[in-house]
């Protein structure tokens, strides 16, 4: 089941195919337009960007230079980028390290009350992030974790853990039981079963899960802006500093936005087939 499989259209007439293909193109272009325009704007001068939309302009990289200059005192792009990268990678790794064994315990050698456990995990997402900020802020202050990367790592792990457990469980359930039993009979313990059978077979699902975790962690704004106002802040927070109250800023903002979004967008583009496969397997409970 790859993303290249389409439902075969038996007996479909040529013109219908072309018409629907054309419709798909038009729809996609309209839908994608804001992104396209944003990228174009990022190469314009502020004048051009704020004038009545026109397509001809002199492209320049000045906006990119502007936004990546170290802003002395204020959050710089380099700093925010490094913070984001470290925080997202570490938290995603921790999520996987916690969720993979948990999914094993829910799918392969199921604990008695696995349904309840699964529901518990999902229910933890019902408490809005905004509501828990208060106790978390206080705890973070007590533990001297404000303005650190660690606090965001911990929180992003907590945010993504339920999703990861749920998705990984669905993938593990798909693994043929016989294969695991064969490994058991052959003498493999948990680690051997994981490395020989489970991880290789569930690899696409694990990749899809990891990608979703990366997306949500990288794009997170609220915790970052509340807990790390001085140091340890992330790219989404940095983007908002490129909005001025005076003067025109759209081109600059566009450049900043492009920089902020590129990593995740590229990752998503490259892995989209895996994501579809992953979501497909994850959806069938």
């Amino acid at each position: 089941m790859s993303a290249d499989d389409a439902t075969p259209a038996v007996g479909e007439r040529r013109w219908v195919n072309v018409a629907l293909g054309g419709l798909a193109w038009i729809t996609a272009l309209i839908f994608f337009f804001p992104v396209l325009w944003m990228v174009l704007n990022s190469f314009k001068s502020e004048e051009d960007a704020n004038a009545s939309p026109k397509l001809t302009f002199d492209p320049t990289l000045d906006r990119y230079r502007e936004v990546t200059e170290t802003a002395g005192g204020l959050l710089s792009f380099g700093e925010a980028f490094m913070n984001s990268v470290v925080i997202v990678l570490v938290s995603t790794l921790i999520v996987l390290a916690l969720a993979i064994p948990a999914a094993y315990a829910l799918a392969i050698k199921p604990v008695g009350k696995w349904r309840d456990v699964l529901f518990f995990f999902i229910s933890t997402k019902f408490l809005p992030v905004v509501a828990s900020i208060l106790p978390i802020w206080i705890l973070a202050r007590e533990l001297d974790l404000l303005n650190t990367r660690l606090v965001l790592i911990i929180l992003y792990t907590a945010i993504n853990l339920p999703l990861a457990v749920w998705m990984l469980r669905s993938f593990f359930v798909e693994i043929p039981r016989e294969l695991i039993e064969a490994a058991e009979v052959d003498g493999a313990r948990l680690r051997g079963q994981l490395t020989t059978v489970i991880l290789p077979l569930a690899a696409p699902g694990i990749a899809a899960t990891a990608l979703l975790c990366v997306i949500f962690a990288w794009n997170e704004f609220f915790y970052a802006v509340q807990l790390n106002p001085v140091e340890g802040s992330t790219v989404p927070v940095w983007v908002t500093t490129n909005v001025s109250t005076r003067g025109e800023f759209l081109a600059k903002l566009s450049a900043a936005s492009v920089l902020a979004c590129i990593p995740v967008v590229l990752a998503g583009w490259i892995a989209q087939k895996r994501m579809i496969r992953g979501l497909a397997m994850g959806a069938i409970k």
Binding site: T7, A102, L127, A158, S257, C261, Q272, A283
Partner: protein
């Protein structure tokens, strides 16, 4: 016959005797414990603390002693008109985007579920909005698309002979809903696409041989097959959409028509109100509301589809 193949004692582990029913169930639980403990610690502790705060009259500005006031905060909540408005807005920000994204996402998935020229590129374009940073989505739509003077949408409206619309100031709710739909349609599309591709092709072929046209096949076979996928999309979408904060913060900064409950809670607590006790009570209510909305949405959708499939 080869002599090397006579059975040999080949065990490294000495054989263990006896039964071990007790340790078996604990051995099963062990891999689950790290994740479970982590989740409990990081979610239940704040939750319990929130419940505790919600029963006090804790304010930070002006600083006041934290005294136990029982359910006073909750009573205040029912008298608070703004909270009622926030609930309405929350519902608008959840129900409409979920449904709209589901419908659009399904439509896109249907368009994508066929071979045509440049299919990969089209799909790549369509999933991009979901990958963008939400504050970027908010800022770009506000300043680039919705802008009263320079916005792209108004440019198109003017070209078509209409008068420009101040989206953000005059239609805050709609503006934010548009950005949410734009953001979440790809998510629904991906799930629906997975659902469409997992349909067994022999069932579809049998239907074609039986003489069913594409619309009939869709209504009677495909929709039923897609139901679990739709449920998943609605559930996950609702969970995330109830908590929307980023777009509100950067597009309208709150204000009538665009303040949902999380944002209202924020305003009441560290966003300026500094009434921690009251805000905590509100957030507890949000948790309950989230569960209700998610359950309700699922039931409605299931019933809809059952009706369709039977038609």
């Amino acid at each position: 016959m080869s002599t090397t193949l006579r059975p040999r004692v080949n065990r490294v582990n000495p054989p263990k005797m006896g039964r071990r029913p007790l340790s078996d169930s604990w051995r099963r639980r062990l891999p689950l414990l790290p994740a479970l403990l982590f989740a409990i610690l990081l979610t239940q502790v704040p939750f319990v603390l929130s419940v505790y705060y919600s029963l006090t009259d804790w304010t930070v500005v002006p600083p006041g002693p934290r005294e136990f006031v029982g359910l006073d905060n909750y009573r205040e909540l029912f008298r608070d008109d703004f909270f009622g408005d926030a609930i309405v807005t929350s519902i608008q920000f959840t129900v409409f985007p979920v449904l709209a994204a589901l419908v659009l996402g399904t439509a896109f998935a249907l368009l994508l579920d066929r071979k045509f020229f440049g299919r990969g590129v089209v799909r790549t374009m369509l999933i991009t909005p979901f990958l963008l940073v939400p504050v970027v989505i908010g800022l770009i739509w506000k300043n680039q698309m919705f802008h009263g003077l320079y916005g792209v949408i108004n440019w198109v409206i003017e070209k078509l002979g209409g008068t420009p619309v101040e989206f953000v100031s005059e239609h805050p709710t709609l503006s934010i809903i548009i950005t949410l739909v734009w953001q979440w349609t790809p998510f629904m599309m991906l799930i629906m696409l997975a659902g469409l591709q997992s349909q067994p092709s022999d069932v579809l072929e049998a239907a074609k041989v039986d003489g069913a046209g594409p619309f009939a096949i869709f209504r009677q076979l495909t929709l039923g097959h897609l139901r679990p996928y739709m449920e998943l999309g609605v559930l996950l979408g609702a969970i995330y959409l109830i908590q929307v904060y980023d777009q509100i913060a950067v597009i309208t900064g709150g204000g009538p028509g665009s303040t949902n409950v999380p944002y209202y809670v924020f305003q009441r607590s560290i966003g300026g109100g500094w009434q921690f006790g009251l805000a905590s009570a509100y957030s507890i209510v949000v948790v309950i509301a989230s569960i209700i909305i998610a359950t309700f949405a699922l039931r409605v959708l299931s019933r809809l589809l059952k009706g369709e499939a039977a038609a």
